[in-house]
């Protein structure tokens, strides 16, 4: 009995290793074929990336986690619609971006959510300092952390349609074509929005940096 369990466990681990080496589209196909672990591998591959993307978009970590969960549920539900000739990441970011956009729209209709976010950020500002790097003195660390928080705040102050392009390009490293597909706008609009986003960002952070 124990021997059988060991064999089963070993086979399971081997299969997991095999799945981990597959491309996204292959994992999606395997999931559609009924291999539940394939979708788990996909989720593990993307949850951190999508969390950071959505967090940059909406500025609320807890809500971002909820939206990442919702993203995966929707991906799983509509996986048969995924075109396996295209990049899975683009499709996943499209769904996540739409959910983030809906969240921002709902938030603008419900100011109470915005108040909660402000309160949460206020609490975060009053956390004790963490000793991140021994090479810096506490005042340096504080200054650096404060500067970074302000720069991140500048990103969140960009208009939504500029912010999504800026985050996808600067932080997620997407190409213009991918951004165009994710945001469903043409390539020229992506370029002009990105340029304007960079200009606005530079104006916001210039007094802090230079």
């Amino acid at each position: 009995m124990a021997q059988a369990l060991r064999l089963q466990d070993s086979a399971s681990r081997t299969r997991s290793h095999e799945l981990a080496e597959l491309e996204d589209a292959q994992l999606a196909a395997a999931s559609l074929d009924g291999e539940a672990r394939a979708f788990t591998v996909l989720a593990d591959r993307y949850h951190a990336r999508l969390l950071n993307f959505i967090h940059r978009m909406i500025g609320d970590r807890e809500r971002a986690e909820d939206l990442v969960q919702e993203t995966f549920v929707r991906i799983h539900r509509h996986l048969q619609r995924y075109d396996q000739n295209r990049k899975f990441s683009t499709w996943a970011y499209t769904i996540a971006g739409n959910l983030a956009k809906n969240e921002l729209r709902n938030r603008s209709r419900n100011p109470m959510v915005l108040f909660q976010t402000i309160k949460r950020n206020w609490e975060a500002d009053h956390r004790p300092l963490e000793w991140e790097d021994n090479r810096y003195r506490p005042d340096d660390l504080y200054r650096k952390r404060d500067l970074r928080a302000k720069v991140e705040q500048a990103v969140s102050e960009l208009p939504e349609h500029h912010r999504v392009v800026f985050v996808l390009r600067e932080l997620e490293g997407k190409t213009y074509e991918e951004i165009s597909e994710i945001t469903a706008v043409n390539l020229g609009t992506v370029k002009s929005r990105l340029n304007r986003a960079r200009n606005s960002f530079a104006q916001l952070i210039a007094p802090l940096i230079d």
Binding site: F39, Q69, H76, R77, L147, R148, D210
Partner: protein
């Protein structure tokens, strides 16, 4: 002054004495800002890149812009990446499992609904066909009754050939026939008995064959007995007295 022969459309009209070399147009701050993304993403040719560098070497404001943007981007990228909390995966897996379980159930629901709709449609179609069938059968029955009545003028006209071709329409004693008036079944009286008076008598030359049912596929004799010119010539009306 750098000299370039690339992209002459962007170059000014100033030319060298040889008239084959072009001088690059100096960049202004407006062009610098409008095309900065191309510069930042390395989408420019070497000549265009040179123009950007040249402008930044002369314009402190644009040089500052470039410096600020690069430093700001670096700060944003240095921000620690978030990782999902410990409860993220334990929360996600049950939801995915629920989706996994419900996916076949959803499709089962769809097929059950489709089966119900198909069954309903079949019932409607069968009902319509049954009405048409009953209608045509009773009409033919009346015609056949008259045609097969022994000793009647109809039988005499059609002869035994019609009876051989349409044996199912020959009235047999005690045979079940659909009753279109009472929406049920009735037992026909034996051939030698006269039909009841309230039967709706119909002229044989009425267009019985016009009623068509796809369920009645068989008898070519039906047409022969009902729509034959011989029956059209008969103008006998039943009398049951």
């Amino acid at each position: 002054m750098p000299v370039s022969d690339e992209e002459p459309s962007r170059l000014p009209a100033s030319r060298c004495a040889s008239a084959t070399l072009y001088l690059p147009m100096p960049m202004d701050c407006r062009e610098f800002l409008s095309r900065y993304s191309d510069y930042d993403d390395s989408l420019l040719s070497s000549a265009e890149l040179e123009r950007f560098h040249d402008h930044m070497s002369r314009c402190a404001s644009c040089a500052r812009y470039d410096r600020v943007l690069r430093k700001g981007r670096m700060l944003v990228r240095q921000a620690p990446r978030l990782n999902p909390g410990e409860e993220f995966v334990p929360r996600l897996h049950p939801r995915l499992w629920q989706e996994h379980v419900e996916r076949p159930r959803h499709s089962g629901r769809v097929s059950a609904g489709m089966a119900t709709a198909l069954a309903g449609f079949t019932v409607v179609v069968v009902s319509v066909w049954a009405v048409v069938l009953i209608d045509s059968a009773s009409s033919a029955d009346i015609a056949a009754d008259g045609a097969a009545e022994p000793g009647s003028a109809v039988a005499a006209e059609l002869g035994s050939a019609a009876l051989e071709l349409a044996p199912q329409y020959v009235r047999a004693p005690g045979r079940l026939q659909p009753d279109r008036h009472q929406a049920g079944w009735r037992v026909l009286p034996p051939a030698h008995e006269a039909p009841p008076r309230d039967w709706s008598a119909r002229r044989v030359d009425q267009p019985v064959a016009a009623s068509y049912s796809p369920l009645v596929t068989g008898p070519p004799s039906y047409r022969a007995s009902a729509a034959a010119p011989a029956s059209a010539a008969i103008s006998t009306e039943y009398t049951f007295d």
